[in-house]
């Protein structure tokens, strides 16, 4: 098995404004994000030789060719639950390495606010939802199963979850493209209405429309487009057997799929000590407990000790490793297909020193990690990627 490290570069990216975009269609969001990426890379639609469309809501390659009027090029629509966005980049990277194409486009997007009801729905597959087994709780209820167990086992408290949300809101308030842009206090988080005990309103991400796009080529071609391109260091995916809620050996206090995908990307990128080597992590904080258990699954701290690092501010903007410097799903919501590409957008901009507001810009960012996990706790799929300056 050959390493993919540094073989592919990202030479242009775009990201729509995230939010309740009542006046914009999914196609509008695709155009908004993609044309920012075109401009960023200095290319046009006719330069693109193939594309990957990441979305849960729209079928077929037409989901990109139609809004962008692409010219009969190969396009595949990718769906991999919450990892959908990162999977577009994985598909594109491999195609470039295979030299099937030279310049390709990845777009992740979702239009969640046209349904007439809140929430993300159950993401019903064509095969239908099981009439009794699959519909027993909602996503926050499912994540709360892990939170109550984690609390009982490791003595963390609701305030630790609140501190994560406060941190993410702080970052998101400094990001013009975020959906929710206000700081909150621990007290506000603790006194918010309960959605699924112990998760309150501020422990849950919003429901949002958004799109993000990336233009990729092989690294040897990248200098033709720009100097400050970034390269793909590693891409991982771990899909669990989907039995966590049914097997007795799942403990409900760790994310096995994230742990497994982390091992893949650390090996590919040669990471030995993530806490020292990785500068920024954009992780899948659909709920605060998700981020807490990611600190441990990704090896930034030992199992059961996340609360110490939360109290120490390890993962704050100015901390040792900034988690969700862009605001995370907490501030951006989770337009499912868009999230992974949007995470890479934050890493890309931070490395280039182009975070829109100086107060969010970190110094000397060289290596960033993007992460998404989707499904029911215990039955996740997880997609991850590491991106950074060439040669790092």
């Amino acid at each position: 098995m050959e390493s993919i490290k540094d073989k592919v570069a990202i030479v242009g990216m775009g990201c729509s404004k995230f939010g309740e975009r009542w006046d914009r269609s999914a196609w509008d969001l695709v155009v908004e994000a993609t044309y920012e990426a075109f401009e960023d890379a200095g290319v046009g639609p006719n330069d693109i030789q193939a594309a990957w469309s990441g979305t849960l809501g729209f079928a077929g390659g037409q989901s990109l060719s139609y809004p962008l009027k692409l010219d009969y090029i190969p396009i595949v629509r990718v769906e991999n639950l919450c990892g959908t966005g990162l999977e577009t980049i994985r598909g594109a990277t491999y195609a470039l390495i295979a030299k099937a194409y030279d310049l390709v486009l990845c777009v992740g997007f979702e239009k969640t606010k046209d349904r007439g009801v809140g929430g993300l729905g159950s993401g019903e597959p064509m095969g239908g939802v099981h009439p009794v087994f699959g519909i027993q709780g909602t996503p926050p209820g499912r994540y709360a199963l892990a939170a109550t167990k984690y609390f009982a086992m490791y003595g963390a408290e609701k305030k630790h979850l609140a501190m994560i949300s406060v941190k993410s809101h702080f970052n998101g308030a400094r990001n013009p493209k975020a959906h929710l842009r206000r700081e909150i206090t621990v007290e506000q988080a603790l006194s918010a209405p309960i959605i699924a005990w112990p998760l309150g309103l501020f422990d849950c991400c919003g429901v949002t429309d958004g799109a993000a796009a990336a233009i990729l080529c092989r690294t040897e071609d990248a200098p033709k487009f720009r100097k400050d391109y970034i390269t793909v260091k590693a891409l991982g995916n771990a899909s669990g057997p989907g039995c966590g809620k049914m097997v007795t050996d799942y403990d409900w206090v760790h994310w096995e799929e994230t742990y497994r995908a982390t091992q893949q990307v650390y090996e590919q990128a040669g990471i030995k000590d993530p806490r020292k080597e990785i500068d920024i992590v954009e992780c899948h904080d659909c709920f605060s407990i998700a981020e807490l258990m990611c600190y441990e699954a990704m090896g930034f701290c030992e199992r059961g000790t996340a609360k110490n690092d939360i109290e120490a501010g390890t993962f704050a903007l100015e901390g040792e490793v900034a988690f969700n410097a862009g605001g995370g799903l907490k501030s951006f919501g989770h337009p499912v297909g868009a999230s992974g590409v949007r995470e890479v957008y934050e890493i890309y901009k931070q490395i280039q020193g182009k975070a829109e507001e100086p107060s969010r810009q970190l110094k000397n960012v060289e290596l960033g990690m993007a992460h998404n996990q989707g499904g029911h706790p215990g039955t996740f799929m997880c997609s991850m990627g590491i991106f950074g300056v060439p040669g790092r």
């Binding site: 009801v117 809140g118 929430g119 729905g121 019903e124 239908g128 939802v129 099981h130 009439p131 009794v132 087994f133 519909i135 027993q136 709780g137 909602t138 926050p140 209820g141 499912r142 994540y143 709360a144 199963l145 892990a146 939170a147 109550t148 167990k149 009982a152 309960i194 959605i195 699924a196 005990w197 998760l199 057997p241 039995c243 809620k245 049914m246 097997v247 007795t248 050996d249 799942y250 409900w252």
Partner: protein, 471 residues
């Protein structure tokens, strides 16, 4: 001699004080409280509870018939006894039948079962009666009707009470009725229907039976008489010359209410729980005529004690805090349903062995229990090496839980649970019949058959967990 081999009963955990009904409607208050089925219960689920309690410790392969008696089965076209039989894990050749439309259907089913046994076409027949009837809000019927179920296993060997004689007659009177399109039971003026319906018919049945067998009221330890209500029950006993203090079986009218077709059988279960060997019990049931039976308890009566019947369920209760909650549980006021859950007749049919029968797969290679059943073992990846194992009666402990306020439920929050069975295996379920404040890691739970949601006229049944009931 044919008779009762085993018995069981079920009373839902919720009770509504009749004072709460009176606070809303005023009028003539009846005293006491009534048993109210939870929002996820109906006649089918209560029948499964009572049937399961009756069959505890009994080889279910010996059951040849399952007769379901109820005036309130959820489906009017489509049998419900077959569903109860599947949930009770009865063999496929079990003959099933719904006995409906009469408050007397419980004893009508008993007679049919006894006839089958006498004819030799069945050895053991389970009769389960369950009702969940609605009286029109503000009426005395609303205060009177309670929810519950009872089961008796009939056979001609190992009986705990022999059935020595019986009487049956029919009568036609518009006393209580309900059209196909009616939600609530209708009735004529009670002074008429009590006199010419309830009192005359029941007296006729008892008098004929005693005369036929040369017995007198004093020969009976207990008289189990259908109760129109508490007052009329005593009146009937007096007319029949039974001592209301010593001989009349308590009607439970002030504790659970009139449970329709299950009522007389529930009282019978209560009488059997207290009976000693060699006692005579009179049973008389009313509805579109009357049935009466003479029972004599055997030495076996002692061994039958301790199973879940009236004594187990009656003191174990949660009071409904208000009348609104009762209306909500019975579907009489509708909240806004944010999204409809899905029904699928095909999936439900394919998965009936685990959805209804609660069977998991025990891996023959590694011994672990897989639920839901799998093709490839979740633990050792062996393919198609499974033995079917019924899990419904197994005890479990709560591994973790959450209180989900977001999910659509008539009784928010949904308590979402991960359970580990004491004998191995994990189960993912909602918790019902619970106080959310008392849910905690490690608490013992058991499974209970409930309906999850209803859509396109399909009632989707499955298993939930509940805390063990205690007084």
């Amino acid at each position: 001699m044919a008779g009762i081999v085993s018995y069981g009963a079920y009373i839902p955990i919720y009770r509504l004080s009749r004072e709460l009904i009176w606070l809303t409607w005023g009028g003539m208050p009846l005293s006491g409280e009534k048993a109210v089925a939870n929002f996820d219960e109906d006649s089918v689920t209560m029948a499964v509870e009572a049937g399961n309690n009756c069959l505890a410790g009994i080889n279910r392969d010996e059951v040849d018939g399952l007769f379901l008696a109820s005036t309130s089965t959820p489906y009017k076209e489509k049998q419900c006894a077959n569903l109860v039989a599947e949930a009770l894990d009865l063999k496929r050749s079990t003959r099933t039948a719904d006995f409906t439309n009469s408050l007397r259907s419980g004893t009508i089913a008993m007679r049919a079962a006894l006839d089958a046994i006498a004819a030799g076409s069945a050895k053991k027949v389970l009769v389960v009666a369950a009702d969940c009837r609605l009286g029109h809000p503000s009426t005395e019927n609303e205060q009177a009707f309670g929810d519950g179920a009872a089961a008796v296993l009939l056979g001609d060997t190992d009986v705990v009470a022999s059935i020595d004689g019986s009487h049956t007659h029919y009568d036609d009177i518009m006393d209580l009725w309900r059209l196909d399109s009616d939600t609530f039971v209708r009735s004529w003026e009670d002074r008429f229907i009590v006199t010419h319906g309830y009192l005359e018919n029941t007296q006729e049945a008892v008098k004929d039976l005693l005369e036929k067998h040369g017995l007198a009221p004093a020969d009976f330890s207990k008289a189990v008489l259908y109760a129109y209500n508490g007052r009329r029950h005593s009146q009937l006993a007096k007319k029949l010359n039974f001592d209301t203090q010593t001989q009349l079986q308590d009607s439970m009218f002030s504790t659970i209410g009139n449970t329709g077709s299950a009522y007389t059988l529930m009282m019978l279960v209560a009488a059997l729980e207290d009976a000693k060997a060699g006692e005579k019990i009179l049973v008389a049931n009313y509805g579109d005529g009357a049935d009466a039976f003479i029972l004599t308890t055997t030495e076996g009566i002692e061994k039958a004690k301790g199973r879940r019947g009236i004594k187990y369920h009656l003191p174990s209760k949660i009071p409904l805090p208000n009348y609104d909650k009762y209306l909500r549980y019975r579907g009489l006021i509708h909240g806004y349903v944010r999204f409809e859950n899905e029904s699928s007749a095909t999936i439900s049919w394919r998965d009936r062995r685990w959805n209804i029968n609660c069977r998991g797969g025990k891996c023959l290679v590694c011994g672990n229990i897989n639920f839901p059943p799998q093709r490839i073992c979740m633990y050792c990846q062996s393919k198609d090496q499974f033995e079917d194992i019924r899990l419904a009666e197994r005890r479990a402990k709560l591994f973790t839980y959450s209180n989900d306020f977001l999910g659509p439920s008539l009784d928010s929050p949904i308590i979402l649970c991960i359970l580990d069975f004491d004998e191995g295996g994990r189960f993912y379920a909602q918790m019902t019949d619970r106080d959310p404040d008392k849910v905690q890691d490690g608490m013992p739970v058991e499974l209970t058959f409930r309906w999850m949601h209803s859509e396109r006229g399909i009632r989707n049944y499955y298993w939930k967990c509940r805390p063990l009931r205690e007084a």
